[in-house]
Symmetry: none
Subunit: 209 residues, 4 copies
DNA sequence: TATGAATGAGGCTTCATTCAT
DNA sequence: AATGAATGAAGCCTCATTCAT
């Protein structure tokens, strides 16, 4: 094996390990709650030393943020795939679906963002996260604007459509995940259908006030 | 003053102090974030000793829960006032309005509940909280059922109407409070109008799918 | 015992404990070197818990600085005693003597100051330390100026006399304390006499260059 | 190129690299303070791997000591140059001048020596350092003894002359380098002249006590 | 020989809770 | 009842050193 190949492999292994740490951290955060998970727990679970984690990430907060950024990047990737296809109308519903698809993760990130912003930690990464998000939202906005222009959607600012959908999805997630409110709804499948129908209705044919 | 009067007064003072501690704690949590607020900070702000707080509450988690319970009790009180009046149609919108009225507080409690349940702390109080909530929801449910029966609302399980409203309110709060998404909406007043109109529409005239 | 007395006693005990921590810390620093002494060691030696130390001092650096400040305050006290007496000529030699009297402590503080300034730690306390020092130097300066005016000392800026004496004392301390250079001098008593004679000569009758 | 030449070159390159590491380490220690400089920083600055440093030096303490030894060797070299010349009277003043010429380096080594001795690290190198120093001091001592015999210097043990000069130089360096005391002297050039004149006086014509 | 990923002991600090007064 | 000093478990992070490649 050439030196170059060796070096490449090393770099890949390093990246792989990083991925492994992040995946494990996410799992543990979801399972035990972010407060209960220590850096040492993550290291133990991955099967590496505590110090190794700090070769990859400067602080625990950086782990939080990288997780969030990856999430937002997944979304961006999804968007870029759809954008290439002809059926751009799907974009909005895919966005909605993605946000709702892994509610526990979504809620975790919601809490983490609050915490990280509260502590004013790693502001560069927070900016990066927000930049990606903004880009995703822009993509979405332009799609929605086209559909408004085409008369398919009520003529309010495109942001309103998106924000309302976001809010409904966010709220639905919170509800289903809540130990209390989740139990209040018996047939979740059916309820989700109901929510989706609302989402569609609220976009399409509203007559304000 | 008789011994009884004295005792009564003492009890009242004790209650008053409890109220004061809770109010101060809430203020501090909202201002600095629940993680940054120590029991000592609360005691200092109230002007009492740290130990005194532990005469009133067994743990810090108990403070969290009592705050949440009070919130839910306020809501119950509001309900009982409205229930006496003839205009029960107002109930749903009042519920909605109350939930949205102090978004920071609402979100704080949302985070606290997650934490407290995660840690399986003070389960009796969690139960109590959930009992009050259930009662409030029941009140709400029966109102909504009556209105469905009267043909004023779409005929889906009453819970769906309530849960959908809850979700929309919850999501709208999260959106407006988010440092990122909040900035995405320029004219918040107008957006709230839009959301409210959706809330009404989604209850009234839906034609599913 | 009245409540006031009780409170007073408590405060005194608290002060006493603070003193105890500082004394113990100093001893340990001198014995094992500042790098080897952990906060836990200090706590153990005093016979208290680690956390208790942090009721008295915010950081370990604060302990360093308080120790230095106390040292400088001792010196100030000595000065104020002498200033009241008629024989102010003694002041300079007392200063010299004090600086030289506990060489290990002096050197410890020298190292600590370097470290603390390097780390830009607790700048308020550093300022406080420097303020006391400046005051001590001012006292000294005015004495020396009077003696220059009286023709007892060579007419160079008073600071030169003081700084030269300081430098000689500082150097002598370093020399005696050095494991290597200290061994280079057999009869330390006699050497110190020699140094002192230099100190006197250098002040009195110099003809520059 | 012959194998011998190759080997020789390799050895030279290895030596060169060692020199480079030490130079870089010194620079970094002076710039950021010895506590803040990690082995990794040194390696990065030199542009080599961390592990490579450990091919040259067993521990970080060894780096400290080699730096100090080189310093003392520079001094020895200076001495050997002067010793060959006729004007041996210059020796003492050159010693003095050398010690004072790079005060930051001098102080760094002073701190490092304390630390290394405190930790009882690499005692062989400490011995080596002290051996070179002793040799330098011996050279110096014999010169001074000749000048005493010639009546040029006061008749006290030669060590006293040397130690006094050392102490004065050491103290002067400490004073000028101190963030506090350094600021106490306005015109440093002039003050150094003053100190030097003292140095001369204290050697030449003293009348003890 | 050169590398740099991995290690883990060790240090500082925080804070909910206890308890003697 | 009120106090606040004392506690110590627990967490984050650093960095000299090792070792497999």
């Amino acid at each position: 094996m050439s030196d170059l190949e060796k070096a490449t492999r090393k770099v890949q292994e390093f990246r792989q390990r990083e991925r492994e740490i992040l995946d494990t951290a996410l799992e543990l955060f979801l399972e035990h709650g972010e407060d209960r998970v220590t850096v040492e727990m993550i290291a133990d679970e991955v099967g590496i030393g505590k110090g190794t984690i700090y070769k990859h990430f400067e602080t625990k907060n950086e782990i939080y943020l990288l997780l969030m950024i990856h999430y937002e990047e997944e979304l961006a990737e999804l968007f870029s795939k759809i954008s290439e296809s002809e059926d751009q109308a799907k974009l909005a519903s895919e966005y909605f679906r993605f946000r709702i698809s892994d509610p526990k993760r979504y809620q975790l990130f919601d809490r983490l963002e609050h915490r990280v912003i509260q502590e004013k930690a790693v502001p560069e990464l927070v900016n990066q996260l927000h930049t990606i998000r903004a880009s995703n939202l822009n993509t979405l906005t332009s799609i929605v604007e086209k559909r408004i222009a085409a008369g398919a959607l009520e003529d309010v600012p495109a942001q309103y459509h998106i924000a309302a959908a976001w809010a409904l999805a966010h709220g639905a997630v919170a509800l289903m995940e809540s130990p209390f409110y989740g139990a209040y709804i018996d047939d979740k499948e059916d309820f989700i259908d109901f929510i989706v129908s609302i989402g569609i209705r609220m976009a399409n044919k509203g007559q304000r006030r």
